[in-house]
């Protein structure tokens, strides 16, 4: 694993609600030994907290040295996991725009809601992030559960969300929903640790092309956090009527459809969107943000910057 050392150029701090954040000092290591690395151009990724309705919200962010006129990109992660899945990607996208990945409340280092949340709650909390960062117009990107948060946020904040990038836009049948609910129910902790090994093997099973055990090792710990409530994300996702909601979105939507566990379910979104299309990615799977960082960046930049809104 290589190590990159970077020095942050002095940048005016964003208007953050949190008391612990500044970007005005030298910093080392946008990634470190053991972290996922990519050969794509990148800037340092920093971490911070802002205040939200459920408590502290942890986020990662990257931005260019110079002020960028491009619309900031805010990314929402899959369940369980955290904004860590975007770390390499943020470093790359941050070369020409502000790129942010919050941890959904209850995941990563963000405080959980006091009771089981809905996608609407997650979207509202993400509005808190936009407010704290002073972002008036954003593009949003989601990954599985995060895609649903994007859709809900686009409906809640139609004048604020410009374009959507969705990694998968699953529309489930009732039977599939029941299967998924059973599969992603609250994990039972075992004396012998077999529950942890099972989660590990699940991550390896769904690892896409080029995604190694070392990559899984970087992300895996987030799936073990808060086992008492780590199922809330999936539960909120399965309660969200994606088909109905997606139809209502008026903003442009690009669905990226890698060959992962939701590839078939996402194809059902074809024809349901007012202003969207599906981009099939049969050679990519989970981990593509780390493995095909530059290609993904080019694809997403092309849509966000190139196609008319």
């Amino acid at each position: 694993m290589s190590l990159k050392l970077c020095v942050v150029t002095i940048i005016p701090p964003l208007a953050l609600a949190g008391a612990f954040f500044s970007l005005d000092v030298a910093s080392a290591a946008d990634d470190g030994p053991g972290m996922t690395t990519s050969s794509s151009p990148s800037v340092p990724v920093r971490r911070a907290y802002v205040e939200g309705r459920f408590g502290q919200i942890h986020l990662r962010m990257a931005r260019p040295d110079q002020e960028s006129a491009r619309t900031p990109l805010v990314c929402f992660h899959m369940s369980p996991n955290s904004g860590r899945i975007y770390e390499t990607f943020l470093g790359h996208m941050g070369t020409d725009r502000l790129a942010v990945a919050p941890d959904t409340p209850g995941f990563g280092d963000s405080d959980p809601p006091s009771k089981q949340p809905s996608i609407s709650d997650y979207a509202a909390a993400m509005t808190d992030v936009l407010d704290a960062l002073g972002l008036t117009t954003v593009d949003v990107m989601g990954y599985h559960t995060g895609s649903e948060t994007c859709v809900e946020l686009a409906l809640q904040q139609p004048d604020r969300v410009r374009k959507l990038i969705l990694t998968s836009a699953p529309i489930f049948s009732d039977e599939e929903l029941q299967d998924f609910r059973d599969h992603y129910a609250k994990p039972e902790l075992s004396e012998d640790g077999s529950h942890a090994a099972k989660i590990w093997k699940g991550h390896l099973f769904w690892a896409g092309p080029g995604y190694t055990m070392d990559h899984v090792g970087v992300q895996f710990a987030d799936a073990l956090r808060r086992p008492d409530i780590s199922w809330w994300g999936h539960n909120a996702a399965f309660d969200f009527p994606m088909g109905e909601k997606l139809k209502q979105v008026t903003q442009p939507v690009l669905v990226l459809n890698p060959n992962d566990d939701l590839v078939e379910h996402s194809r059902r979104a074809e024809g349901t969107m007012q202003n969207g299309r599906i981009h099939e990615l049969p050679d990519w799977g989970h981990g593509y943000l780390d493995i095909y960082t530059e290609d993904a960046g080019a694809l997403i930049r092309g849509y966000l910057d190139g196609e008319p809104s």
Partner: protein, 270 residues
């Protein structure tokens, strides 16, 4: 027993961002802040319950050691001295000029090194274990806690979990372990660095250099037979070892009230 809220934040240090947890009363108490260092691997999360209680009457901060939790790693394999320098970065960033320190296993060595290098800043030190190893024990510890390959079947993670269960004290449930275990699993490529730094640190030579009072808590864990060897190394007349038979890993969560009472009594004595 819910205590005061525990918040989290970042400061900047020589290796990048330092992540920490902080708990504090809503009024000034005049008591010195307490800064805590965790065991290897893990993170400041092991102090969450404890600091919520200790934070009732003083500022309590638990730092994630560089490369653990959410703190950026050092560019090269670090020493305890490196960790202590980062601890000083955090104290400086938080404008702390008088402080007590507490460390747990590897963290107790960070506390010792920080105390030696900053005699006017650090007033009192609490060490959870102060193991002194024979050369044979040290060689064995290095072998056990060296780099570990990841395995397709997840047996490496399973082994870590079983070890956490094995060394847990009575009363510590799987749910308790589940709340901190993820921090054991983070950054597997470098998570052995903490132990390596600990085993390269000569506690036998360092502890006598500590001029401040030291309280050594000695729970009945994996190093409890090695900690009494530190007795004659404690320089200050007010230093002592407090054996805690029946206590082991998890006592900060299970025996929170008793632990905070013992620590408060020592810290507030001078």
């Amino acid at each position: 027993m819910t205590g005061v809220p525990v918040h989290r934040g970042y400061a900047d240090g020589r290796f990048g961002q330092i992540h920490y947890r902080i708990a504090q009363p809503d009024h000034e108490t005049g008591k010195r802040p307490l800064v805590c260092f965790h065991m290897s691997p893990y993170s400041g999360v092991i102090y969450e319950t404890f600091m919520a209680e200790m934070g009732r009457d003083r500022v309590v901060i638990a730092m994630d050691t560089p490369g653990f939790g959410n703190s950026d790693p050092s560019p090269q394999q670090p020493t305890i001295t490196d960790y202590a320098r980062v601890a000083l970065d955090l104290l400086n960033a938080k404008l702390i000029t008088d402080v007590d320190l507490m460390g747990y296993h590897t963290g107790s060595k960070v506390a010792v090194e920080t105390a030696i290098n900053n005699p006017n800043l650090v007033h009192r030190v609490v060490m959870v274990s102060a193991p002194i190893y024979t050369p044979e024990e040290l060689a064995e510890a290095k072998r056990i806690y060296g780099p570990e390959p990841l395995k397709e079947d997840g047996s490496h993670v399973q082994g870590w979990w079983q070890s956490a269960v094995h060394w847990s004290m009575e009363g510590r449930t799987l749910d308790h372990i589940g709340r901190t275990f993820w921090a054991r699993v983070l950054n597997p490529a470098i998570s052995w660095w903490g132990h390596a730094a600990a085993f390269a640190y000569d506690s036998g030579a360092a502890i006598p250099k500590v001029t401040q009072p030291i309280l050594v808590l000695n729970p009945e864990d994996d190093v409890w037979k090695r900690t009494p060897r530190a007795k004659d190394l404690l320089a200050h007349a007010d230093s002592y070892i407090h054996d805690l038979p029946g206590w082991s890993h998890g006592f900060l969560d299970i025996k929170t009230e008793e632990a905070t009472h013992i620590v408060r009594t020592f810290l507030d004595a001078g």
